[in-house]
């Protein structure tokens, strides 16, 4: 298959076969290919007797989904070139496969054989688990040697027993046929087991009571135990059926001579039970071991858990109080710095827009009153002609801090630079981007869209108290939520 005959090689062989000149053959072959192509284009089919047909197959358009985007796409229909060999040519290759199979049968076992092999493996594994080794192998190997041996014994010792055996055999064979029909669809391997114990067990018992008991014991156990795990529900019922016929053929044996064959079956069932009983004592032992250990471990655990909790509490308390301490220290500093402004703090919290306007109105005179203070930054920054409006936002930030530290002004006006958002401004002035709502609240009238602030708009940034700035404060949380709700309502309108 790896080899490939090229165009030139093909031509060479044709020249050698036909006896025509190389030129003739080459022109013929080129023309042949061209004719095939043109035939495909015009008639969509080219039939070459002795080889096969080249044909255009139309593939219909079909719907599909773009894997990346999930969009529905229609893959357009197209035509593809196909080749179908002639019937005679096809047969040549069908015959060819037989040769190939003979050559390499080892390469691939047939699927059914594989299934059979797997079933054999599983049965073997189960047999190992079930304390009786080589169950799967036993039935096939034991079958043939046992029966002739038994027959010989019977012929030597008792003719009477032979007759009885003959009478028994048909009885035994009848149930044999029934299980085969049931088991065949399920698994091909298993049916052998229920069959054999029936026939050999009964005859062996009368002849030699000692020897047969041993083979009898494993065999009936074998079919019963492995079957349950192999296939869960369906196989159980048919195999229960073959088990009961085992008892049936045994009972006719009883009148003949011995009750011995019946006895070994009962101990077998008994032997199976002890395997199940051990699990019950095991947990009792476990309980005995566990009870004394528990308190010991608890002490260790308790100490460890308490230590961990203490550590966590300490760490949490440290972090928690660190913030409060810093806040407290700041407040103390501010209190010492500015006593007058504290009175104005409650006015800073305006909920409604009207309140904002009122606050702004109130704040303007306050600014006028505190003119000397406002002028201080002007003197500091001499380059800027007008302090209030055209101050770039980067420079007012330090100004603002100074003002905050020195005297708490209610409002500062800034001009928005290109690409700045309210959240960025909030981050800069308040230290938290979530507080942008307060800026928007103060500029509701001048701003249409809080998400898209155009360059050059003048914003008034209200001063916030430390309580308002603290995002973890539940009051500010509620406030932010309320404002966001209101803004979203406005946006929808």
């Amino acid at each position: 298959m790896g080899e490939k005959i090229t165009w030139i090689e093909l031509r060479r062989t044709i020249v050698a076969r036909s006896g025509a000149s190389q030129k003739e053959v080459s022109t013929f072959m080129d023309e042949l290919m061209q004719q095939i192509l043109s035939g495909l284009r015009t008639d969509k089919i080219v039939r070459i007797s002795g080889l096969g047909t080249f044909k255009l197959l139309s593939v219909a358009a079909r719907k599909s989904v773009n894997v990346a985007t999930g969009e529905a796409i229609v893959i357009p229909g197209y035509e593809k070139v196909s080749f179908a060999p002639e019937a005679g040519v096809k047969e040549l290759f069908l015959n060819l496969r037989e040769a190939s199979e003979e050559e390499a049968p080892k390469e691939s076992a047939t699927p059914l054989q594989k299934l059979g092999a797997q079933a054999n493996e599983i049965v073997g594994l189960l047999a190992d688990l079930g304390q009786t080794p080589n169950k799967a192998e036993e039935p096939e190997s034991v079958e043939e040697p046992e029966q002739p041996a038994e027959e010989e014994k019977t012929t030597e010792e008792n003719n009477m027993e032979e007759k009885k055996m003959e009478e028994e055999k048909p009885i035994a064979q009848e149930p044999v046929i029934a299980p085969v029909t049931f088991v065949d669809p399920v698994t091909p391997v298993e049916p052998v087991k229920p069959i054999e114990p029936v026939a050999p067990v009964a005859p062996v018992a009368p002849v030699t009571p000692v020897a047969p008991v041993a083979p009898v014991t494993p065999q009936p156990v074998a079919p019963v135990t492995p079957v349950t795990p192999v296939t869960s529900v369906t196989p159980v019922t048919p195999i229960v059926a073959p088990v009961t016929p085992i008892v049936a053929p045994v009972t006719p044996v009883e009148p003949v001579a011995p009750v011995t064959p019946v006895e070994p079956i009962i101990p077998n069932t008994a032997t199976t039970f002890p395997t199940y009983t051990p699990p019950t004592p095991e947990p009792e032992k476990k309980d005995d071991y566990w009870e004394p250990e528990k308190p010991k471990r608890h002490f260790l655990r308790d100490t460890l858990i308490t230590l961990l909790i203490l550590l966590l509490l300490l760490a949490g308390a440290f972090f928690f109080f660190r913030k409060q301490l810093t806040n407290w220290v700041n407040t103390i500093r501010e209190k010492t710095g500015t006593e007058q402004v504290e009175k104005q703090k409650p006015e800073v919290v305006p909920t409604d827009t009207t309140a904002v306007v009122q606050a702004a109105e109130e704040q303007k005179p306050a600014v006028e009153e505190q003119k000397p203070v406002v002028k201080e930054p002007k003197t500091v920054i001499e380059q800027q002609p007008v302090a209030e409006k055209p101050v770039p936002p980067e420079k007012p930030a330090p100004e603002k801090k100074k003002q905050q530290a020195a005297e708490k002004e209610m409002l500062t006006e800034i001009i928005v630079l290109n690409g700045e958002t309210l959240e960025q401004l909030a981050q800069r002035y308040y230290g938290n981007s979530d507080l942008w709502v307060f800026i928007y609240e103060a500029n509701m009238n001048s701003l249409d869209d809080p998400d898209n602030v155009s360059e050059g708009t003048i914003l008034q940034i209200p001063n916030l108290t430390d309580e308002q700035k603290n995002v973890n404060n539940p009051k500010t949380k509620e406030k932010i939520r309320e404002l966001q709700m209101i803004f979203s309502m406005y946006k929808e309108d």
């Binding site: 298959m1 080899e3 490939k4 005959i5 090229t6 165009w7 093909l10 062989t13 044709i14 076969r17 036909s18 025509a20 003739e24 053959v25 022109t27 013929f28 072959m29 080129d30 023309e31 042949l32 290919m33 061209q34 004719q35 095939i36 192509l37 043109s38 035939g39 495909l40 015009t42 008639d43 089919i45 080219v46 039939r47 070459i48 007797s49 002795g50 080889l51 096969g52 080249f54 255009l56 197209y78 035509e79 593809k80 070139v81 196909s82 080749f83 060999p85 040519v89 096809k90 040549l92 290759f93 069908l94 060819l96 496969r97 190939s100 199979e101 691939s108 047939t110 699927p111 059914l112």
Partner: protein
């Protein structure tokens, strides 16, 4: 297009007799099939390649009865058109 038309067209185009063309055609068929049977792919200039593919034995299930049967392993001739030819017919 049937074999008769093919032979006629080739004979017209190449100024060879029809008998000659048919002989050559049968020889080419023989050569192609023999090389395929010896597990060698044959490349057809401007068309593509003819090759033999091994199909493994597989189990089929009868949809109604549920009976399991095996399809025996076999070899099939398959044609793989050239990429250019494929594209040409895709556009149409």
């Amino acid at each position: 297009m049937l074999t008769k038309d093919l032979i006629n067209n080739i004979a017209e185009a190449t100024s060879l007799t029809k008998r000659h063309v048919s002989d050559l055609l049968s020889v080419t068929n023989q050569v192609i099939i023999e090389s395929l049977m010896s597990d060698k792919a044959v490349s057809l200039h401007g068309l593509g390649t003819l090759e033999v593919k091994q199909k493994n034995e597989r189990v089929i299930v009868h949809p109604v009865t549920g009976a399991r049967n095996t399809v025996p392993a076999k070899k099939q001739i398959s044609f793989r058109p050239l990429a250019t030819l494929k594209e040409e017919f895709k556009k149409q």
